[in-house]
């Protein structure tokens, strides 16, 4: 069962996961004494080192797989194990390396919070669970980590638990994720029923059940284990449901914007590599399970999500909400990558996105932090997250501005950034894929191209409103107050992430995604021919479109050339995020609660009423019996008694003791007998 394996990378991978976990335990035990976060930061820093070592040893080499028996049910053993292949070690490194700057940033960002010891505890748990998820060797263990990731995010989103909005948001996040969990659970229940194993390598590995069966049958992937044909499709859809909830796909995305109630540093982690990435990673991990139907569903859902989220982002004023919808939109792109069958590209976009989105949030956090200080100091009573209260901040916070600009350019896919490489790869392949498909699939790449334009618009709008123009806050505008770049604890991580958002991290060819080491490490054969023309047209077109939008936004928001019509239905639909929250509250939550209320009523008055009815019936029967007993049964008894008494009463009169009477009676009796004899026997 256990393959002979090189030990050091394995131990390093184990350490990568266990270090933050130990950090979690130690922080939990230390309680209020763990305010400084030294435990958590040390743990994650060592974790990065261990992950780096693992990565260096495993990447490009043979996968390492080890497992230990966990428990046995019946004759079936379940294991805990590690599967270290390229995909796993890549994610291992990515998650830890994104988590480290967030930890360091938090030192300054969360300074002075009374509950900060909880923050470090939860943060360590969050990282440990996500790191465990990426190297889990079977679906059960993955599911365990998957749920703990959700649990840790619940704790972190509701970190400020006295804030109503925060505790509403974390409840919502957990419950929506539970919908996805059910999908995941049913998905692996189907696979277990069909194949009798949950081992990822045994199912989906190069020699796995799916691979061999697919190779054996000529008609493509017609693997069903012992199951009827439709069940594999069902399993694929169920797993996708899990990923939809975790990776915030429409219509289950609503928890992610709401989750902005947590600390910004947490948002950056959730949006980068730790929470939402889990869904995309899951789909990549179990990719062979998907048949064409499911892939098409995934691509379509991703497209719709990308479009709708970008559309909602256009009109938001909360700086974090804009970024949240941006994440949802980008996750849609990644889903399309899975849907067109090229999961390496989805993972590539996941990796590039992790860096620049984390950076965007950290920059936003820096801005919010400063605005909050301004607000507190001058008692302005403004919402520190509202971009309408900002403006002109680039003069005060040049480093923040520069790093955020880099992150934004990466987001829109501007040349020389990492985002350019992954996004264009995605777009180009989507076009190639669509060329082979009929019907509605053709729309997908065009929609994505359109979404790219929207992306440029909303992120440039954000930049323009926050950093350009004149300061909207009077205290700032008339020079009473000053803002400045945050401390080195925050700037350091931001600079590091900014460096990671540029092309050299992934390839030395700034404009060509063909040489990205990441894509070479996790390669799949592309089932269609390349269209060379697209590789030129799309990047060039995209770059020009971005520039055009930038100019347009500049004229609009900085130059004040246009004003937005804010009363149109399209604007309002976008501003209210499609009214989805209200719809869900009214129709889904409301319906369930009403139904629950009806059942409670039924339970009290019908089910229990029946019991009471039976009791009443029993009691009336009893009182009827009592009546019968008293009046009839006992009545008869009394009747006999009375009768006896009456008879006795009559008879006792005979017992007078007077001799004359006795003789008279005697005489009468004899007379009667005589008369009887004379009359009857005559």
């Amino acid at each position: 069962m256990t393959l002979p394996t090189p030990t050091y990378p394995l131990l390093a991978a184990l350490a990568t996961v266990l270090l933050p976990f130990i950090g979690f335990l130690l922080s939990a035990i230390a309680g209020r004494r763990a305010k400084s976060g030294a435990i958590s930061i040390t743990a994650i820093a060592l974790s990065v080192v261990a992950a780096g070592y693992t990565f260096a040893n495993v990447w490009g080499g043979e996968p390492i797989h080890i497992q230990w028996r966990w428990f046995t049910i019946g004759e079936q053993a379940f294991h805990v194990g590690l599967l270290l292949d390229n995909m796993a070690v890549l994610m291992l490194l990515l998650v830890s390396i994104v988590a480290l700057p967030v930890h360091i940033y938090s030192v300054a960002y969360m300074k002075g919070d009374p509950g900060i010891h909880r923050y470090w505890t939860f943060l360590s748990l969050f990282c440990a669970a996500m790191l465990g998820l990426v190297i889990a060797d079977n679906l059960l263990l993955m599911y365990v980590c998957w749920e703990i990731v959700g649990f840790a995010s619940y704790l972190l989103i509701g970190f400020w638990f006295t804030k109503d909005a925060a505790v509403q948001a974390n409840k919502r996040a957990f419950i929506i994720n539970r919908i996805g969990d059910i999908g995941f659970l049913i998905g692996f229940a189907i696979l277990y029923a069909g194949f009798g194993t949950l081992d990822i390598n045994a199912l989906f590995g190069p020699q796995g059940l799916f691979a061999t069966a697919a190779g054996a049958s000529t008609a493509g992937s017609t693997v069903h284990g012992g199951l009827p044909a439709g069940w594999i499709t069902a399993a694929g859809l169920a797993f996708f449901l899990g990923a939809m909830a975790k990776s915030a796909q429409f219509p289950l995305h609503v928890w992610l914007p709401a989750a902005m109630e947590g600390p910004t540093s947490v948002s950056s982690l959730i949006h980068a590599a730790t929470m939402v990435a889990a869904g995309v990673f899951l789909l990549a991990r179990i990719f062979p399970v998907f048949d064409d139907t499911v892939l098409l569903v995934i691509a379509a859902t991703g497209t719709v999500t990308a479009l709708i989220a970008a559309y909602f982002a256009l009109t938001q004023f909360d700086i974090k909400k804009i970024l949240a919808f941006s994440t949802v939109s980008q996750l849609g792109f990644m889903m399309v990558g899975i849907g067109i069958g090229l999961y390496p590209i989805a993972l590539f976009h996941l990796a590039t996105h992790a860096f620049f989105k984390c950076l965007l949030f950290l920059c936003a956090g820096a801005v919010i932090h400063e605005m909050q200080h301004l607000n507190d100091k001058h008692r302005l009573g403004i919402d520190p997250q509202d971009i309408r209260n900002m403006g002109g901040l680039r003069r005060y916070m040049p480093v923040t501005f520069a790093t955020m600009l880099i992150a934004s350019l990466a987001l829109v896919g501007f040349p020389l950034t990492s985002g350019y490489l992954s996004k264009d790869a995605l777009l180009v392949h989507a076009f190639e894929w669509a060329a082979l498909h009929q019907g509605a699939a053709h729309i997908i790449p065009y929609v994505l191209a359109f979404v790219s334009v929207l992306t440029s618009f909303y992120i440039f709008r954000l930049l323009a409103k926050v950093f350009f123009g004149t300061a909207a806050t009077p205290a700032l505008a008339n020079g009473q107050a000053k803002l400045h770049d945050p401390s080195a604890w925050m700037v350091g991580p931001m600079l590091f992430l900014a460096a990671c958002s540029l092309f050299p991290l992934f390839t030395l060819h700034p404009l060509n995604d063909g040489h990205v080491w990441l894509l070479q490490g996790i390669a799949v054969s592309k089932p269609w021919p390349s269209l060379p023309l697209l590789h030129i047209v799309i990047p060039v077109g995209a770059a020009f479109a971005t520039l055009a939008v930038a100019v347009w936004v500049w004229r609009w928001y900085v130059g004040g050339k246009y004003t937005a019509k804010t009363d149109g239905p399209l604007y309002r639909l976008s501003f209210h995020q499609g009214y989805l929250d209200g719809l869900y509250d009214r129709f889904v939550v409301g319906t369930v609660l009403r139904f629950a209320g009806v059942l409670r009523w039924l339970d009290t008055y019908v089910v229990d009423g029946l019991v009471h009815g039976l009791t009443t019936l029993g009691r009336s029967l009893a009182s009827a019996a009592g009546w019968v007993d008293q009046r009839i049964v006992d009545g008869l008894v009394r009747l006999f008694g009375k009768l006896a008494w009456g008879v006795g009463n009559v008879v006792r009169r005979t017992q007078t003791g007077r001799l004359q009477g006795y003789f008279a009676s005697l005489f009468l009796v004899i007379l009667v007998i005589l008369l009887y004899h004379i009359i009857v026997q005559a």
């Binding site: 428990f71 004759e75 649990f151 629950a596 409670r600």
Partner: protein, 533 residues
């Protein structure tokens, strides 16, 4: 090793109860210390037995595979034409009963700890508690049906008084309701026991017997007897064996409880004092599940298989119905009572699958629910002790006032809603997997039942988290104002000492389920083999 370990375990509380009678009523504190000492001794004893218990001891239908067996003739009576009456004192444990015995001992200690402040006639209270303790230990060990029935009925009596005397405002109503409900089931059970007695003979002596293990072997049935599988007797147009199964099932299902025979449970829980709630949820409900496995399934496997679809349906309905009604509750204790209905529904769904995964999952769920529900009721009791109120809407922001208590509640809630790392997760997941597998393994349950059951996992998250949000988070706002906020002190050391072991155990079983699964595995395999062969 003492060969009568199990007997000692069962009758230890009886000794304690006798001792209590001797202690004069003036020394109130003596009773609880005697009770606690007994409880701890039992816990150590059952823990030791658990450790010694050999995992290969499958038990189920073979006496030689039971452990800690005590088998002596008890009543022998010549009854003329009817033959010789044979009742044995026959006890023993296998993988089904061993974890439940340990669980019972643990829950008893918790319950005694929760009774620490009982003022009203402490002597009577603790004596009744000890009798109850003896009865539950006996139920989980008895292998003679007559003996089982005696212990089974003996449980009712102390419970009736414990609820009826030491309970809340409507205690008498609740006590009578509980008593009648359970009696309703067990009276008919007696008829089946008698029927079985006359159908089964002891292969060694040829006399009729109450030995359950003999009842599990079709060869021991008298040809042509009422419950003989070959005779195909009928009563009211229903096959006799099916009827026997149904009657026994209803008797145990009332205890589980299943929807729609569950309405005694919320009332009993709400009116019962905290320790009795703990015992009800922690032990009594498990007697139902245990009876179904040990008796209904093992003695009437054919009828059980026939009824699988209905059992699964009842399980699914209980899961979803219980969860939805829990969602609509405004009283914390009632909410938890209905969540018990929902969680015990998983037990039924699991056993109805007749797969090893499902059965093991169900058994695991019983163990896990045993101490998680005990923990939950204990937590409610802590709140009620302080302010004598349990309304969910009467509290807000408790996390600020009682941080340690909130941590306990949050852990208990998340453990109950099936967070991985805690025991309920393993139970629920394997019930779902087993139910799902049933269609390919034996075709007894359709797959939609597993899917419907998993909706219960979602709903449990909804009602637990909603409660957490309403009562514990946000700014503090209490119905009772400052009086309450002064009364609401954080968990005391005694309460902490009681809570921590339960949560640690839930965690230990969740992280390393083999602690329990290794002991129950052989029995589960044997049971599934016995039923589905």
């Amino acid at each position: 090793m003492n060969p009568h370990l199990l007997t000692i375990l069962i009758f230890l509380p009886l000794v304690a109860a006798t001792a209590m009678f001797v202690v004069p009523a003036g020394k109130r504190n003596a009773y609880k210390y005697i009770a606690l000492a007994t409880g701890v001794l039992q816990l150590v004893l059952s823990g030791g037995m658990y450790y010694l218990f050999h995992p290969k001891g499958a038990g189920i239908s073979q006496e030689r595979l039971y452990q800690f067996v005590d088998h002596v003739p008890w009543i022998r009576l010549d009854m003329g034409n009817l033959g010789r009456l044979e009742i044995d004192y026959f006890i023993g444990v296998d993988g089904l009963s061993m974890p439940l015995l340990f669980l019972s001992a643990l829950v008893m200690v918790i319950a005694i700890g929760a009774s620490w402040n009982v003022q009203k006639s402490a002597k009577g209270y603790f004596v009744l508690l000890m009798i109850l303790d003896m009865a539950v230990m006996g139920v989980f060990s008895a292998l003679d049906f007559f003996l089982f029935y005696i212990f089974y009925e003996l449980m009712l009596l102390p419970l009736y008084f414990l609820i009826g005397i030491w309970g809340g405002a409507r205690r008498e109503y609740a006590a009578i309701k509980f008593f009648l409900y359970t009696l309703f089931g067990s009276v008919f059970m007696l008829l089946i026991i008698v029927g079985l007695y006359f159908s089964v003979t002891n292969p060694e002596t040829g006399a009729h017997t109450f030995n359950m293990l003999h009842m599990m072997d079709p060869a021991n049935y008298v040809p042509g007897s009422f419950f003989s599988a070959l005779a195909k007797q009928e009563l009211f147009g229903i096959p006799a064996r099916l009827l026997g199964f149904i009657v026994l099932f209803i008797a145990f299902a009332i205890k589980v409880p299943i929807v729609p025979l569950h309405t005694w449970l919320p009332d009993a829980h709400v009116e019962a004092p905290t320790p009795i709630s703990i015992i009800l949820a922690g032990i009594l409900l498990k007697v139902g599940g245990y009876g179904i496995l040990r008796i209904c399934f093992s003695i009437f496997p054919d009828a059980a298989m026939q009824s699988a679809w209905w059992l699964g349906l009842i399980g699914v309905v209980s899961i979803i119905y219980g969860a939805l009604v829990a969602l609509a509750q405004r009283d914390l204790k009632r909410m938890i009572a209905y969540s018990s209905v929902s969680h015990m529904g998983f037990v039924l769904l699991g056993v109805a699958s007749f797969t090893t995964e499902g059965t093991a999952g169900a058994l695991f769920q019983m163990i896990s629910h045993g101490f998680l529900s005990a923990a939950l009721f204990f937590l409610v009791g802590m709140l009620y002790d302080r302010v004598h109120d349990r309304g969910i809407y009467h509290f807000r922001g408790l996390a600020t006032l009682m941080p340690r208590y909130t941590v306990f509640v949050a852990i208990a809630f998340f453990a109950s809603l099936g967070l991985p790392g805690f025991s309920a997760f393993i139970g629920e997941v394997f019930v779902i997997i087993g139910a799902f597998n049933a269609e390919s393994a034996n075709g007894l349950l359709p797959r939609w039942m597993a899917i419907a059951g998993s909706v219960g996992i979602l709903l449990s998250a909804a009602y637990f988290l909603w409660t957490l949000q309403r009562m514990f988070f946000g700014q503090p706002r209490l119905k009772g104002g400052t009086v309450w906020s002064e009364a609401l002190t954080d968990a005391s050391p005694r309460e902490t000492v009681i809570m921590v072991p339960m949560l640690v155990l839930a965690l230990a079983l969740g992280v390393y389920p083999a602690l329990a699964l290794d002991k129950i595995n052989a029995s589960v395999l044997a049971l599934v083999e016995l039923v589905t062969k």
